[in-house]
Amino acid sequence: MSHMTEEELIGYRDGETKERQRFASHLNGCQVCRREMERIEAVFAALDGIPVPDPGEDFARRVWQEISPRLPEKHAPWWHALLEPRRLAAVGAMAAIIVLAFLLGRFTKKNGPEEIADAGKVRERVLVVAVGDHLGRSEMVLMEFANTAPEKGQKLVNISAQQKRAEDLLEENRLYRQTAKREGDALMASTLDELEPILLDIANSPDEITPAQFEGIQKRIAAKGILLKVRVVHQDLRRRPGNTALPPAQSDVADSARNRT
């Protein structure tokens, strides 16, 4: 076989050749072609030597700051909300619970101990799914505070998005805390108890706060270790047996909580 062409060598290196076996045995025995291959490898090694400058830890935040005012609002058609998979999953889960409750009532003895035990399981299941979603969203809000640092010289930090979400979470948090206490889930109740003043703090803040106020909220989050506690309880919920359905969408969470109280 005559020497391999540059194109064949590059194709071989890239795994883009059908004659791989033949080229491999040729390369084994041909020093000229091996030298050529080494020169080609040196091109790629040289490319790897070019550093990519670090755009900074806050790069993603800068990108968001630049683009977010330019993102037009998206209005989903009314049927989109109904067909949203998470909502469908939630509706399906609720429908299954209703059917199960109906069957329990239909085929078991009235006021028997088994019926009471099953009804208790159903209540717990609803609580697990709904609170799991609530904790996941609370965790995101807390993380946005914990992972953001105001820029040097920045006079005000816009927290309107987090504030709006904290308002929504606050009402749910109260309902879940009461339910957890009633159900005797002490760890969940205490975690939600500690989460509430932080959510209240964020919800009652103005749209824009000073870096000092921002750091104040960060310190309160860090001091209570609330982010870790929320994660632990959230993980614990995920591990509970039977927690296989996707968490319901926000409005379903609120509805299911209201139904229980």
């Binding site: 590059i10 030298r35 040196a42 091109v43 040289a46 490319l47 800068r62 609002e73 998206k74 909300a81």
Partner: protein
């Protein structure tokens, strides 16, 4: 693509939820995607444009375009792969535009005495810079950067996607709006040009020597 940030199953699921929520009107959900992919896209954009400021602008524009086309995405593929392609497409358009403007401005300087255009690779093989003079790696890095600048936008895109991001030829062909064979040729041309531009330099030859039998 190599096992990238957009490939994990967990990310794919949370990306799909974020896309779905964004389409349902929750604009903040889009931030999850911006946070996750900004740095990944920045690396691609920097390697394609060779300029950090321009790379930052490319990333911003790519996210804006992705947001506008989000309905078209509709979960057909991995969001990371999709937005990567949008970034590569935008970057290549931008390099073409920039090259066009630079050519217009620099045209008289790039012609030899008889009016024939000079081979761009020859710009890198500057006779004033003898191979032996280029000893420092910073100097070599500068030469590599210059060599990359001599590639056409398609060649540069092909080598960046192929070498750094391990994209399949078909993926590169989709961005270049070309076919597989033509794309393979583009990769080959890019490597050959880089080699031609770099081989005269001592440090580059040392790298080759260190890799094997070169003497």
């Amino acid at each position: 693509m190599k096992a990238s940030i957009g490939e994990s199953e967990n990310h794919a699921v949370t990306d799909a939820i974020a896309v779905e929520r964004t389409l349902a009107g929750d604009r903040d959900a889009y931030r999850v995607l911006v946070d996750r992919y900004s740095l990944y896209l920045y690396r691609l954009a920097f390697r394609m444009t060779g300029n950090s400021h321009e790379a930052e602008e490319v990333v911003q524009e790519a996210f804006l375009r992705a947001y506008q086309k989000l309905k078209q995405f509709a979960g057909n593929s991995n969001f990371g792969t999709w937005v990567y392609r949008i970034t590569a497409n935008y970057a290549i358009d931008r390099i073409r535009q920039r090259n066009l403007e630079e050519t217009r401005q620099a045209l008289p300087a790039r012609l030899s005495n008889d009016g024939v255009e000079v081979d761009p690779v020859a710009w890198v093989q500057d006779p004033a810079a003898s191979p032996e003079r280029l000893a420092g790696s910073a100097e070599l890095a500068a030469k590599i950067k210059q060599a990359l600048d001599t590639l056409t936008p398609a060649e540069r895109t092909a080598i960046v996607m192929r070498h750094w991001d391990g994209c399949a030829i078909e993926e590169i062909a989709a961005v270049l709006k070309s076919n597989s064979n033509a794309t393979k040729n583009t990769v080959f041309r890019a490597v050959a040009k880089l080699r031609k531009a770099l081989e005269p330099f001592a440090e580059f030859r040392n790298t080759a020597r260190a890799m094997g039998t070169e003497s």
